[in-house]
């Protein structure tokens, strides 16, 4: 799109979009590090992830201040308005993902002092890798205003949901086999749930890309596979736990 007559307006909008990319980079790294700390039983790395969340939170605050400033001073309309609104929503999604990685790091701090459970580490890593890629693609789609890539990200959330469902059953089996594994399995389950929630946030970012480009949010017709919420008493007597806290 061509430049604004007021070039300072362009600089403002580029500025907040650059901030979003910076924040996205930090969050991607935080996903990677949190899951690496778990797989490698690296307590120091987990501690760094927990400490790093402050920088992500600070960026979100800056972004919201800048966005409010642009609204007050420039009265953005049409696509400019959508840039500002989408930036604020994406920042909120990224901040939430940051909180979830922090929660994973917290649980890692507990898990390193317990014996490892089965072969769940590599499944979690694969799932986290997939979510990290979804986030990366959602942010790329944002910068390139690429609706097709954004739709692809939304579709891929189904895979993440299915991975989570499979892991849920796996943890259930472990816990039934050996009650001593209940504590680590509950932590691991929350970690899996956290990763699944990150996928939802990446999806929400992809939806913002479609809103930014087209002016409309996509229809609520995306594939869903949340079978865990309907696991009944007749099956295993367990339901999903509460969502992770920040």
């Amino acid at each position: 799109m061509r430049q604004h007559i007021a070039s300072a307006f362009d600089r403002d909008l580029e500025g907040i979009q650059a901030q979003i990319m910076k924040m996205g980079g930090l969050v991607e790294a935080s996903i990677r590090d949190s899951i690496t700390s778990l797989a490698d039983r690296d307590e120091d790395l987990a501690e760094r992830v927990r400490a790093g969340d402050k920088a992500i939170d600070a960026l979100e605050e800056t972004l919201n201040d800048e966005a409010a400033r642009v609204i007050a001073l420039r009265a953005p309309a049409a696509s400019d308005l959508r840039v500002v609104l989408s930036v604020m929503r994406i920042a909120a999604n990224l901040e939430r993902i940051g909180d979830l990685t922090k929660n994973i790091a917290k649980r890692t701090g507990v898990l390193v002092h317990m014996p490892p459970v089965g072969g769940t580490g590599s499944s979690l890593k694969r799932m986290a890798r997939e979510v990290e890629l979804m986030l990366k693609d959602a942010l790329d789609a944002y910068i390139q205003r690429d609706q097709a890539l954004a739709r692809d990200v939304i579709e891929r959330d189904l895979d993440v949901d299915q991975m989570y469902n499979a892991m849920f059953r796996e943890f259930l089996t472990f816990m039934l086999e050996d009650t001593r594994s209940i504590t680590p399995c509950m932590h691991l389950h929350f970690i899996a749930k956290n990763i699944e929630r990150m996928g939802d946030h990446a999806t929400s970012i992809a939806e913002q890309v479609i809103y930014l480009v087209s002016g409309e949010l996509p229809d609520e017709a995306r594939p869903k596979s949340d079978s865990v919420a309907s696991v009944g008493v007749d099956e295993r007597g367990a339901g999903p736990g509460p969502e992770a806290e920040g």
Partner: protein, 265 residues
Amino acid sequence: MYDAPYTERTTAVTDVKISARDVQVYYGDNHAIKDVNVDIQDKTVTAFIGPSGCGKSTFLRCLNRMNDTIDICRVLGKIELDGEDIYDKRVDPVQLRAKVGMVFQKPNPFPKSIYDNIAYGPRIHGLAKNKAELDEIVEKSLRRGAIWDEVKDRLSEPGTGLSGGQQQRLCIARAVATEPEVLLMDEPCSALDPIATAQVEELIDELRANFSVVIVTHSMQQAARVSQKTAFFHLGNLVEYGETGKIFTNPEDPRTESYITGRIG
């Protein structure tokens, strides 16, 4: 409580007040308005926006035949007010303008008393049978112009002695005194300070209950604030016409987008 409306954006009526079909305007050889088709709704504020020279004022002036006074100006096509062709030979422009009032950029009160400024139109159109009725019309019009309280004790003083914002509201009161059905406003606030502008905008919103208001404005924020419908003109074409909220959040035409986001002047 839960379904309390946001600032009223929709209009209760969808009746068409003015209908324009294939309107062309030429100033000599200059084709100023090209193929404009638009339906202006009753009891609605419609804003015309667009860069200077885009034809929005020219088109506005077609709606009460103000262009008749310009010799080299030719208007083609059809403009109907309540289904009647306003360019029909049998239509008296003076009677038309009583129905389609106009307020201009610069407040232009007559060099007469405040009372006579308002009473002038009703007198020449014979709207009052006696002094008491005329007094009533004057008070009602000044109240509609949201200026009654400020001038009620000085009705015999000259209208030109009022402040700019008061003069403009006096002119609006004068325009509504003849009970028009449509009020055309050409940049009514561009000579006013922000407080007077806010008062006039509030007034426009109140006038919507009784009139169809068409406003030409260079301030996009003003168009966004006061109107329910917006028409964007560019190089003599009506590029886009639609609900104001839609035009300012997700316009369809890239030229509209460029204009409202400050990319073309």
